[in-house]
Each structure stands twice: as C-alpha cells, then as structure tokens.
Symmetry: C2
Subunit: 246 residues, 2 copies
DNA sequence: TGGGTTTCTGACTATCAGGCGAAAACCTCG
DNA sequence: CGAGGTTTTCGCCTGATAGTCAGAAACCCA
C-alpha cells in the first residue's frame, strides 16, 4: 500500500467478475455455461460474467451480469470464491477475474438465452480460459461447505421430503448418503423442521412423506449459512472451552 | 466474458495484493502492520502489500512485497483470502485489493523494518482503509480452518510439546482448550506423531514433556493442509457412503 | 382384501469429545 | 537423601454422535 500510488507506474488490468452458477437438475449437479461465438476459444463454453464497472462492487457486478442469463431473484446463495490472476489466462492480454459461487434451488427452471445451457459438472464440455479449473474450485467449495454449513438450503425448494433432500445431497456431493441419517442429523442439529404437512405419494404408492423446511436463521447478515451446530454442546462443557470440533 | 473485450470501455483499476501475516507471540496472536507516514491515513496502521506488476501472479506479488518486510522463507503458509472491491475503499481513487493470509511459526522472530511492528489482533491500533476489516476476515478464516485442517502446522515450530501446542491453539482460537483432548484428538487423527525425544522440564521441575511433530502429508500440492481425518472411518462403513461428516 | 412400494421409527453398535483424577517423572530445598 | 511441589502423561468414565438394520406404518393398485 502507499507504494501503489507513490510509485511511478500504477499498472491496471481489466477486472472481471465471473459466476459459477450451480443447480441440481435431474439428480445431477449442473453448471451454467454459455458458448463463445468468437475467438479466442470460439465454440468453447465459458462462465457468465463481464467487466467490473466504475462504481460497482464485485458482488454487485456479478449480480448485474447474471441478470443477462437468469433472474437474480432465483439465486439462493452467492459468495465470493477466488481471484485468478495468471498473466496468461487470457491470450488477448492480461485480465484479473474474481469468481463467485451461485446456487439455484431445484424447484425453479429459469429460462436461459440461446447461447447458454446447463452442463453436468462431472461431464463438462470444452471450456474456455481457466474456467474449467474455476468450476472445479467451486465444486470443492460447495462440497466441503455442504457438510458443515447450511448451503444445502440454497439448493433445495422451500419445502421438501427427506427423500428429495437426499437426492440433492447425493447429486451435489457425488457420493451416496443414507436418508435416515441425513434426516436425523439435520433434525438434531436444528436446521430442519417439519412443516406438519405431507407430500402425496408417487404413482407407485407408498407411505406419504412428511414435508420439511430449513429453519430460517436470523443470523449474520453477511453469511446466513454460516452457523450449523447451534446448541448441541457436549457433556458438561460450559462456555467456550474444550477441544477442537469447530 | 467476451463482453469484457468487445465492449467499448474496458475499465481498469490498480490492483494490489495485501497480506495478513499472523504469528503467535507471547501467547497472543499478532498481525504484522506498518505505520503509514503519509496521507491518507497518515499515522494509521496498514497491511503490507503493493501493486500487482505486469507479469506477476497475485500469489507471487504478495510473496515479493512481503520480502520488504520479512523473509518469505519464514512463511509457514500462504493462501488467498478474499478480494475487496468497494469503490470507496481508497479515498484517492478506485483500487481493487486481493488479500492473502500468511502464517509464521512461533520459533522464528524475523527482523522487521522500523515502520513495521506486530500488534495483538484483539487490540489493534487505528487501521487504514478497510484493513481492519480484512484482518477480521483473516481471523475468521484461520479459526475455522484450525479446527478442520492442519494449518496449526504453520504456526508451530518443527518440534513441540503438547503444552506448547496448546498455547498456540489457545492464542489463535481465542478460547481455552484442554491439553488432554488436543493431544488425543490430533494423535488419533494421525496428524501428530511423537519424535521419541523429550523436552527438558522448566526451572520449576515437572515431568519432562514428550516432543511431537506434525506428520508431513505428501498430499495435494495445492493445499498441503487440506486433509484432516485420514483413516478414522466409522463402524462398518466402507468406501464413500453414509451420512455427512465431511 | 392382499401384494407391492415407499417412508418412518426404534434399537443396536462403534466412535468420538470432554472431564477428571491418579500415576509418572522431574525439580529444589532442607 | 528424602519430602514436597510441579508438570506431564495416561487411563477411565460419561454423554453425544454417526452409521446400520429391521420392522412398522401408510399408501397405491388390482
């Protein structure tokens, strides 16, 4: 700092905001990509995004650019992911890009422009720039956060059965999860609560499933999904003392 | 993307790399800051950092700028934290800053320039720009990562006793931790291993403490501190199946 | 009414975290 | 050289948690 402005040169490079928008569709986790019509990387698929404007926060910039693809109101979650600065990441010249992670709940199916489409994250097409690598970063982030925060909230519809929630977690995590535990764990942690209503059984019959919803936490405004294990303290521990466990 | 270069304007702002360098000193967690001699924020304390140069990665930039303060070889860990883009964060004009989190182990005491000093994170002086807020972000990151990764490694000397390690965790986490559990938990998780040697007891006597070291994981090159719970699987679970638990 | 299907619930087990106290190993002082 | 003080280590106990499994419950269709 200081040297930024006192030094003779103040190098500046176009800064862009990108978004990895994820949604579970047909039991698979998908990423929203658009197909580039022009060089470089013509025909390859890229993340939505664009330049950071004059009086814009990066967060506001992502939200604005996403409007060209989907309604921002559909986004259940949006958080900063990481900033890529490799000088060679764009063959036309240097750019710095800050990527965001966006989540869309399953129950909405936003209309997309013609050049934009959903792609399963485990079977991506040819990607432009370093965007494939950015998607992988987003996956790592999502998967780790699913197990110790409430981001699952942002992937789920307002009301759901345990079976549906299980499908979401299986799709997002990439490995199998037992429904029994998922329900009990989330219930005990206090993040899930029954609505009292039931979902109609499928065409094959079966016991009607109880509907649940996530408990809306009136928590920190900055990160509403931050907290996970509210009261579940250990044996005789009081206050903040003990081992680790986060 | 695409629109970044096809649009008539390509706004660009000076990009800088900042570092929140943390170290436990005298049982308290400290941050490295330097005192600004000039306006704006003359007399206030700022994070080390500076402009991103032409052919530099952000990571390389932080490392280079830190050289002005400490030897980079002292850094036990360096990871990207977040990018700040508030248009008003610098009164002189718009800048975008990417902050990194750096950790220095306790056993080194690097010589600092005259304008640079360590400050306890829970008692910071007046800070410049949004740097105080960035330090708080770094704290949140460090504290959460301490409980589910091996970053503690980067704060500790190569060999240490359980008591010393406890001091580190207490200082970094900000709350008390029992030595018994810390040792057992870390041992069971397989991140700690005894060296076989002992540390000489203090002047007051007492049983000599066994020396431990962190098990160096030959893991992912990208994030050597990523993994935490290697083998400790549950009852009869095989492969990747089960509930959550990360 | 009976077979098929899906969901829900309870029981059982292994693991884990936290706390406590006794034992071990070392010091210093009389 | 033994007694008292100090620090660490180790074992045991308790409560909570994750995972599995099987049976009961509730619904459909024929």
């Amino acid at each position: 700092m200081g040297s930024v402005w006192s030094s003779p040169e103040r190098p500046a490079y176009p800064h862009q905001a990108l978004a990895v928008v994820l949604q579970v569709r047909a039991r698979r986790l998908h990423a929203m990509l658009w197909e580039r019509p022009n060089e470089p990387f013509a025909g390859a698929w890229a993340l939505p995004g664009g330049p950071l404007l004059a009086d814009e926060t990066l967060g506001a910039s992502v939200a604005r650019q996403l409007t060209a693809k989907v309604e921002v109101s559909h986004l259940g979650h949006l958080e900063q992911l990481e900033t890529r600065s490799d000088p060679g990441r764009d063959p036309r010249g240097r750019t710095v890009a800050t990527a965001y992670l966006g989540l869309i709940p399953t129950h909405v199916d936003p209309a997309l422009p013609d050049d934009t489409a959903w792609h399963p994250v485990d079977d991506l097409p040819t990607t432009a720039f370093d965007h494939g690598s950015i998607v992988r970063s987003a996956l790592v982030r999502l998967r780790s956060k699913l197990s110790y925060t409430n981001v699952g909230f942002a992937l789920a519809p307002p009301e759901f059965t345990v079976a549906e929630l299980r499908e979401l977690y299986v799709a997002a995590l990439g490995y199998d999860v037992t429904a029994t535990n998922l329900q009990r764990v989330l219930l005990r942690r206090g993040v899930l609560e029954p609505t009292g209503e039931q979902a109609p059984p499928g065409r094959a019959g079966g016991r009607p499933a109880a509907l649940y919803r996530f408990v809306t936490p009136e928590l920190s405004v900055t990160d509403p999904f931050a907290v996970f294990r509210p009261p579940s303290r250990r044996p005789g521990s009081e206050g903040r003392r003990g081992g680790l466990e986060g």
